[in-house]
Assembly symmetry: C2
Homo-oligomer: 353 residues x 2
Amino acid sequence: MSTTITPEQFVCPTPAPPGDRVQLGHGSGGKLSAALLRERFLPQFTDDALAQLGDAAVVGIGRSEIAISTDSFVVSPLEFPGGNIGSLAVHGTLNDLAMAGARPLYLSAGFILEEGLPLDVLDRVIAAMAEAASAGGVRLVAGDTKVVERGKADGIFVNTTGIGVCRPDFAPAASRALPGDAVIVSGPIGRHGIAIMSAREGLGFEAEVTSDCATLYPLVERLRAALSGDVHVLRDPTRGGVASALNEIAAASGVGVLLEEDTLPVPGAVAAACEMLGLDPLYVANEGIFVAFVPPALAEDAVDAMRMHHLGRFARIIGHATDRHPGMVVLRTALGGTRIVDMLPGDQLPRIC
Amino acid sequence: MSTTITPEQFVCPTPAPPGDRVQLGHGSGGKLSAALLRERFLPQFTDDALAQLGDAAVVGIGRSEIAISTDSFVVSPLEFPGGNIGSLAVHGTLNDLAMAGARPLYLSAGFILEEGLPLDVLDRVIAAMAEAASAGGVRLVAGDTKVVERGKADGIFVNTTGIGVCRPDFAPAASRALPGDAVIVSGPIGRHGIAIMSAREGLGFEAEVTSDCATLYPLVERLRAALSGDVHVLRDPTRGGVASALNEIAAASGVGVLLEEDTLPVPGAVAAACEMLGLDPLYVANEGIFVAFVPPALAEDAVDAMRMHHLGRFARIIGHATDRHPGMVVLRTALGGTRIVDMLPGDQLPRIC
């Protein structure tokens, strides 16, 4: 049996060029994300507080200054060694408040559920959220649930929005780094991203890497108290890792950053997994560490104070800010050479948070 | 060619019974939604402010009382007559704050984008959000964007979380209705749901119905001023429509509600579409009206004040609260009979907001 092909059937559908459509890399936290923000969102959303592009926005309510942070979580898989999307969604947003120097107080949670999701998975996610909120000392006060048809979402997406209260004497910001500042990292690098990757691909690494997913406010509070608030910058290096966080700080402050490779706390299992997967640990996501820029004279005090807290016991100085190469992050390698640590254009690992 | 069927191939995969999985009706705003909340979320999320189940949670910051509301929007299609997911996401959350008696101040927005989304659609959504925020007098101060692979979301999902400031002399709440209260509706019923339905199905109704999507705070402010704050209940009848909102109020206050069918402001085009689609306008979603319970002696003043505002020009009394049938909503039909207006078990129209 033969069929007649009409001329219409010869016409190829012309797909829009990729430049006209959302790409996965737009969600990477790298250069494409920054371009999407700069070209699409910021021309319309022109508020000064938003334009700061901090981890949280700082605004006034009555006589109080509050910090507001929002984050949607789309991590895949939903459950991974060291946590699940629920604990991640709580810690992630509370940490953004803490990075702005605020004490987290309240949290809202908005769920988008896919039809067919097993309710026992939802139960575990909810339980993890409740536990994380309790550990973080915050009240989960508002919620919302939507359901979409099978195949229109991916199990669970969660948005959390947090509200914290600021202190008048403590205002770390990405724009406040000064040449000479010591750059401190509060703990081992790369655990969250590698934990997700290993859960996703079912890779059998020799040693299991668990996510570092944790609430950082108590550790920030130790640091603040030890330095009487004299902390210039705090940032949690999530999507895009330590490299992206430092690039953002360098750009916002107009300083350079020089990192010493042999001081970077990369756990052996993370290093091994990165080598196997062809990843650079500096770009791998973290969910339970921060980088801090502090005056050089206070750097040792800062590290000592942080090491007194279990989340900061591996805190160390990994470099310093400099006026030599403003806006640029440079790594001095163990062999004595240097290389530029740029922002990634797109994804290293999509859907990491 | 014949193939051998092994015994394993006879084994039917046993799907989990529907009761163990999320169903579309869990997102309906009806009985299944209430069950999900009661059985899954509230046993873990035990905060008093959340347990009120108001449109917004009211909590303290310093010396101020603030209202917090969060909502995720999954409306399909993304654009419809009278608005798009962006304007809906802003108005919807601001209205929840207004229903708690708060003046909306700040807004956050979290986007989940599907790979392949045309950027011009995103541009229109962002522009509509900016315009709606500006019209609502609020600052959009915090944002976040995630991208998921093609087929793992549906174009755009948006979460908005709003923060408003409460007045000491104005605290409407679903639990404060009293027998005798007049029940007022601020405008025509059923426009949003029918607009979505007609856009979704490509139905050619004779007269186009546009969504009523609008910010209600200015109208609430008129009402508050006219009644010196003596407004018992405010609620915007979104998912589940006027019927579900009134059932929630009846349950929370322990009063009955008697509606007079011939007073219900159902536009002709909505009534025609509902008849064609087999829908009851009382269950159809609205995004630009509210129901108010006010003392009977103030009811006429309330209606007069609301009619001075363009969004309230069709405001009218549609019934009253009674101690006759506590917790139950009853409709007196145009023919003089009565019927119970119950909560729907599940969906009338999924993904309406």
